[in-house]
């Protein structure tokens, strides 16, 4: 399960757009590490993640190469977490967690249900298996989405601002939880929040105004980092850098 991913010469030009969203980008996702891309909204970081996930429609001009360290294709070995929890409102929590099995085979086996129950218990969500998503709070819903991601059990996890819709306390808690349960995955996290990037990254890049990836330094401690004075200093200098970059 330890796979590093190399993205080479990635370019994307949306059909009808005046200029390319980015071109010639290289990015390495080291095995079992969290790589964060930090940038303001609209800078193209989400497009980069969508490109890696194969979610960009073929009508848009795209090129580049994605290679995994084990030589196999990246297809079907990623799971995707978005800002919205994307829980299907007509399925209960358990069925939502088991969605992949349902989509691939049309049914959910008892063994998979058992595994899903364990994951829910691990995320402190026991007892809500039969609830519909609309009956849950935002924090709980995103935890269910995390359980669904874990259930997919892929070596690579792509996350697009999965915590940004949560309130501060829930965000902090879920960041810790995600860092803990996704410790052995190769993760790409897209965020616009410098504090979140500093808390969770093993490797951090700033998406610059000219669509380049600038590597940034991180505190020495291991993620998930506490919000202490050291992190505060890093956050201050990061905010200044972002101001210079994006005005």
């Amino acid at each position: 399960m330890s796979i590093s991913v190399q993205l080479s010469a990635a370019s994307l030009h949306y059909a009808g757009a005046a200029r390319a969203t980015f071109s010639g980008l290289n990015l390495n996702l080291p095995a079992k590490k969290w790589t964060c891309l930090l940038g303001p909204s609209g800078c193209g970081k989400t497009s980069l993640l969508r490109l890696m996930a194969g979610l960009i429609d073929s009508s848009h001009q795209q090129s580049g190469e994605i290679s995994c360290s084990d030589g196999l294709s990246i297809d079907n070995r990623i799971s995707y977490m978005a800002q919205q929890d994307l829980l299907l409102p007509w399925l209960n929590v358990l069925d939502n967690v088991c969605l992949k099995a349902r989509l691939l085979t049309g049914k959910v086996s008892a063994a998979e249900q058992q595994k899903a129950r364990q994951l829910l218990a691990q995320l402190n969500l026991s007892g809500i298996e039969k609830s519909l998503p609309d009956q849950l709070s935002g924090g709980m819903r995103q935890r269910v989405a995390l359980a669904r991601t874990l259930m997919q059990d892929t070596p690579i996890v792509l996350m697009d601002e999965p915590f940004s819709a949560l309130d501060a306390v829930n965000r902090y808690k879920l960041q810790d939880l995600a860092a803990q349960v996704l410790l052995d995955r190769t993760v790409l996290l897209i965020t616009h929040d410098p504090q979140e990037a500093l808390r969770l990254s093993d490797q951090l890049y700033l998406f610059s105004a000219d669509q380049q990836l600038l590597p940034l330094s991180l505190p020495d401690s291991l993620p998930p980092r506490a919000v202490d004075s050291q992190l505060g200093h890093y956050q201050q200098s990061l905010l200044q850098k972002m101001q210079v970059q994006h005005g």
Binding site: P89, W90, R102, L103, L104, D134
Partner: protein, 264 residues
């Protein structure tokens, strides 16, 4: 210190609906009787409610047999129209090149009034139930197809992204994501269809038929038996209302998540 206590519940909703309906019915009946008395209406122009009730009771066997014909036409037309609309919307979604060819057909199905089509349908399908079922199906075809197509087309993109990264094929996406996501939109189309379908069936009966409430009304009208006509009209209205509420309840039971999202 002011103290506010809250006590709200919607347990009484079913009862209050029935209550409202009863009050409305009673008010209409009273107004009706008042108009008959005040304007001294002769029974062949506006029969008093009691006379209509008398007819309802007196010739209930005749009314019942014709009602069953009309109700069957409506329900069968509704089912046929729903099936046609659903299939039409599905293939517009799945075979994009076909869409441009079929859209004019869809619009024509709505633009040509069923009144204009009715004589042709009589000619082709005879005076029996078939032509009325087709009329009812045709008249609901457009609202069902468009709502179904819109529902299927505007699936939240995030759901589809998620399904894509999970490796779901087109058909599983359709069955597990697109179709259930389209249900709330389709439901509003079905509600419209339940109200409109009786129009199609009755228009069909008026143009030419050998049975049904429309046939009965036409016959009664020709003989100036206006009370009989009102009796038939009353049954038709009652059935249409019942059909709508039944459809509404069924849809709410089938799509419980929609109610929770909208709070209704």
């Amino acid at each position: 210190m002011a103290k506010i206590t809250f006590s709200r519940s919607n347990l009484g909703n079913g009862f209050s609906n029935l209550w409202r309906l009863t009050v409305t019915a009673v008010v209409i009946l009273l107004l009706w009787q008042a108009i008959v008395i005040y304007f001294e209406m002769p029974p062949f122009i506006l029969p008093p409610p009691l006379l209509v009730l008398e007819k309802l009771i007196g010739s209930y066997q005749l009314l019942l047999s014709h009602s069953l014909i009309t109700m069957s036409e409506i329900v069968l037309g509704l089912l046929l129209g729903l099936l046609m609309g659903l299939l039409f919307a599905l293939q517009m979604l799945l075979f994009k090149p076909l869409r441009r060819w079929l859209l004019p057909v869809l619009i024509a199905s709505q633009a040509i009034p069923v009144f204009a089509l009715a004589p042709i349908l009589m000619l082709w399908f005879g005076y029996g139930m078939t032509s009325k079922v087709i009329m009812a199906a045709l008249i609901i075809f457009f609202p069902v197809t468009t709502t179904c197509f819109d529902g299927l087309r505007y699936t939240p993109i995030g759901y589809l992204d998620l399904a894509h990264t999970m490796g779901a094929n087109k058909w599983r996406q359709l069955w597990h994501i697109r179709l259930p996501a389209a249900l709330p939109t389709l439901a509003s189309g079905i509600r419209v269809a339940a109200v409109v379908a009786p129009i199609g069936a009755v228009v069909g009966e008026w143009v030419g038929s050998s049975g049904g409430l429309g046939y009965l009304m036409l016959q009664a009208n020709a003989r100036m038996q206006i009370a009989d006509m009102f009796a038939a009209l009353f049954i038709l209205a009652l059935f249409s209302i019942a059909l709508y509420y039944f459809t509404d309840l069924l849809l709410k039971a089938l799509i419980p998540w929609h109610r929770e999202q909208t709070g209704h």
